[in-house]
């Protein structure tokens, strides 16, 4: 991965970010998009403390693994 690209994994607890792109496999990208996580979606990071993350998308909370978070670039 290029230097300087921020992913969801780098976001701190409580931070509000906007999704830029979803890298990674087709399956994962489609699943995230179908859940409404796509380019421009605001995501609130509830918790990112070393384990899986908890994020708020719309009104639902999702737990997602670090492997997934690593593939979601954000602004």
């Amino acid at each position: 991965m290029k230097e300087g690209v921020k992913t969801l994994l780098h976001a701190k607890s409580g931070e509000m970010v906007r999704v830029q792109d979803i890298l990674g496999g087709r399956k994962m990208r489609n699943r995230l998009m179908e859940l409404g996580v796509m380019e421009g979606t605001p995501v609130k990071v509830y918790s990112n403390e070393g384990g899986p993350l908890i994020i708020l998308v719309g009104n639902s909370r999702f737990a997602l693994g670090q492997g997934v978070a690593q593939k979601v670039t954000v602004k």
Partner: protein, 682 residues
């Protein structure tokens, strides 16, 4: 076929089939229960329903069939429970689909709605209010929503039973009314290849009639939907269409367009444009209480300790409460047996008949009945974990430890359910997206000690380790858990790894479990168990008694009896494990029918009806061989119901056989190890 059946027009008074579909956690099952009067378990974690179920609604004198589908976020086949929903919606004959939409997550819920409409379903939206907290925040113009989407919208509060009849009325109207076609424009770049695909589908006889609409199929092949591609491959001319789709995708990719992503994005664009016109959010919600609980429950440091405390409480509660009960019930039955042993001959009953009642029925059933309180408390605990919403958090906090084993947090749930019963536990692996994770979770699951094995531990622990009863019982649970972990580790080396990591689970807001639901669930538990006692367990008791009494004239439960002869032949394989007696062997053999039968068989062959089982066991077992036997019982083979489930879920005899041989091998090795190592020290 979906929708198309309606082209025939008039339904008259014929049967109507409605389906309930929606995202997980939207209240589908609750609506299903309200309508059909069934008492289906309502859980609060994704994956409560992994198979469709049917019920009937009495509606204005006609019979309306209602099918509840597993929750799904979309019609793509992602995990197998979702595939069940998709399969039904695409291939079956629902006259209308009641789409339960959580009004707090309108946008995401409507994505599924849109997909179903594209697939030609007669959709009726049940706009359900799930979360009290968001009610004040969100404002939806129901009539406008209905007008914009062109489908009836009925507001409901499923938990309070509001809007139920209205939904059915709307769905029945929709089922009998005309079908309205629905189409989203995906823009020129995509419409061109779509039109071409549609055309070639129309000229392929095998496909033209098979799917609800040619456009839907064109979309799916362009999206490269795995499930659909598998099906299309099989049809004559299908491969040509797939090749065409492949070329179209490649052409789009050259222009920098990922067809599947664009289709999803376009659908959301469409939804957003409509939602903006009919719904507004006054405040960015969040369930405040829920978030507060999560601060602790999912805390980086406290999360796991909190979980352990919860589990410890659950087991402590179960054992403390059930221990005395088991003794009480056993005492009662042995008194009854002793009394009958005198009373029956007093009434001129023959020896054989007295033996049937005392050694068979009383001894066999008496030993099993004590388990009822264990079932009640343990399943009460599991039900509460599910209904409250904590289950999804368990998946979250166990993710890190599960990763060490090469699985993700979701895979922990089947293990937890296994403490209740391995059958539903194995079925629940359907929610795991990765086939590899599923297989590993299935193979390791039988080592998790289900409730049916507990009476064996309690019996032996009380008889041989009266002072350390609890530690002994707990140690068996840990042995089971440890072996499940080792099994996953071992098999993860054999089963090839998948790359795409997809740990993703929704954390629904916490909910207070409804008392009514909990009570019915408990009653269900008890009645279900009594049903089993009166059928398969009773049958096993009678069979064991008969085999111990035959051939006619032989001394009851002696080596010369049929059961004695056959089991004595097998028993030597347990010599190194320390329990090479035929009674223990016959109990293990019959225990495969159902694990409770291990204990009931011991009751029958040890004539527990008269003197109680504990004392009789002392003649054949030492504390060490007792522990070895418990280890064997814990691990040796899953019951038949579990074996059948492994077969049906893996769809492979090979893996079923591997699981069985491996399971027995491990059990034998470990009980031999226990006895041999133990012998050195004692």
């Amino acid at each position: 076929m979906l929708g198309r059946t309606n082209l025939e027009g008039d339904w008259g008074m014929g049967p109507i089939e409605l389906a309930l579909a929606g995202n997980p956690n939207t209240g589908k099952t609750c609506i299903f229960n309200n309508l059909t009067g069934a008492r289906q378990n309502v859980g609060n974690w994704p994956g409560v329903t992994v198979e469709k179920k049917e019920g009937t609604i009495p509606f204005q004198g006609r019979s309306v069939k209602l099918v509840d589908l597993p929750g799904a976020y979309s019609l793509s086949s992602f995990s197998e429970d979702e595939a069940v929903a998709r399969q039904y919606l695409v291939n079956n004959s629902a006259n209308a689909v009641i789409n339960v939409v959580d009004s707090c997550n309108l946008r995401r819920n409507l994505y599924l709605t849109l997909q179903m409409m594209e697939a030609g379903a007669n959709v009726v939206i049940a706009l359900n209010m799930m979360d009290e907290a968001c009610r004040s925040c969100i404002n939806i113009d129901v009539e406008k929503l209905a007008a914009l989407f062109g489908v009836p919208v009925v507001p409901t509060v499923a938990a309070k039973g509001q809007g139920m009849q209205e939904v059915v009325q709307a769905a029945v109207d929709r089922a009998t009314g005309p079908r309205r076609p629905f189409k989203i424009e995906y823009g020129p770049a995509l419409e061109k290849p779509l039109a071409e695909l549609e055309k070639s589908i129309r000229s392929t006889a095998g496909l033209d009639k098979k799917y609800p609409s040619n456009r839907w199929l064109a979309l799916k092949v362009l999206e490269e939907d795995e499930g659909v591609i598998e099906e299309v491959k099989e049809v004559a001319g299908g491969r040509a269409i797939l090749a065409r789709a492949e070329r179209a995708r490649a052409a789009l990719a050259q222009k920098g367009v990922k067809a599947d992503s664009v289709l999803i994005a376009k659908r959301y664009e469409y939804i957003d444009s409509l939602v903006a016109q009919c719904a507004s959010e006054a405040c960015s919600t969040g369930n405040v209480l829920s978030d507060k609980i999560d601060k602790v429950a999912t805390h980086r440091l406290f999360g796991i300790p909190v979980f352990f405390v919860v589990m410890w409480l659950l087991f402590e509660f179960t054992f403390r409460l059930s221990g005395p009960f088991i003794t009480l019930v056993e005492d009662g039955f042995s008194r009854l047996g002793a009394w009958l042993a005198i009373a029956l001959p007093g009434m001129n009953a023959s020896g054989l008949f007295t033996s049937f009642v005392v050694d068979g029925l009383v001894a066999g059933l008496g030993t099993v009945m004590g388990i009822v309180p264990v079932l009640v408390t343990l399943f009460l605990g599991i039900t509460l974990l599910e209904d409250s919403g904590y289950m999804a958090r368990i998946a979250y906090i166990m993710d890190k430890p599960m990763r060490v084993m090469g699985l993700n947090g979701k895979a922990f749930i089947p293990f937890l359910l296994g403490f209740g019963c391995n059958v539903p536990a194995i079925m629940s692996t359907r929610t795991l997206e990765s086939k590899r994770d599923r297989l590993l979770a299935i193979i390791a699951n039988p080592f998790i000690s289900c409730t049916a094995r507990l009476p064996v531990y309690i019996l032996f622990a009380s008889a041989f380790f009266p002072a350390q009863k609890m530690p002994v019982v707990m140690s068996l649970y840990f042995i089971g858990l440890a072996l499940a972990i080792i099994t996953v580790k071992v098999f993860s080396k054999v089963v090839p790894e998948e790359k795409d990591e997809v740990f993703l689970i929704e954390l629904p807001p916490y909910r207070l479990p409804a008392l009514k639901g909990v009570v019915t669930s408990l009653w269900e538990k008890i009645s279900d168990f009594l049903k089993r006692v009166s059928t398969v367990i009773l049958a096993a008791v009678i069979a064991v008694w008969a085999l111990s009494s035959l051939p006619y004239g032989v001394e009851y439960a002696s080596r010369e009896s049929l059961a004695g002869q056959v089991s004595s032949f097998i028993a030597p394989i347990f010599t190194w494990a320390g329990f090479a007696n035929w009674r223990a062997t016959v109990a293990l053999i019959f225990g495969v029918l159902a694990k409770e039968v291990v204990v009931s068989t011991l009751g029958v062959v040890y004539k527990a009806g008269e003197g109680g089982l504990g004392a009789a066991l002392a003649a054949d077992f030492t504390p060490l061989s007792a522990f070895s036997f418990m280890t064997m019982t814990l691990l040796y083979a899953p019951c038949i119901a579990t074996i059948a489930t492994i077969r049906s879920e893996t769809k492979s005899w090979k893996w079923t056989l591997i699981a069985l041989v491996y399971g027995f091998g491990v059990a034998w090795l470990l009980s031999v190890l226990v006895h041999q190592v133990g012998s050195i020290f004692s």
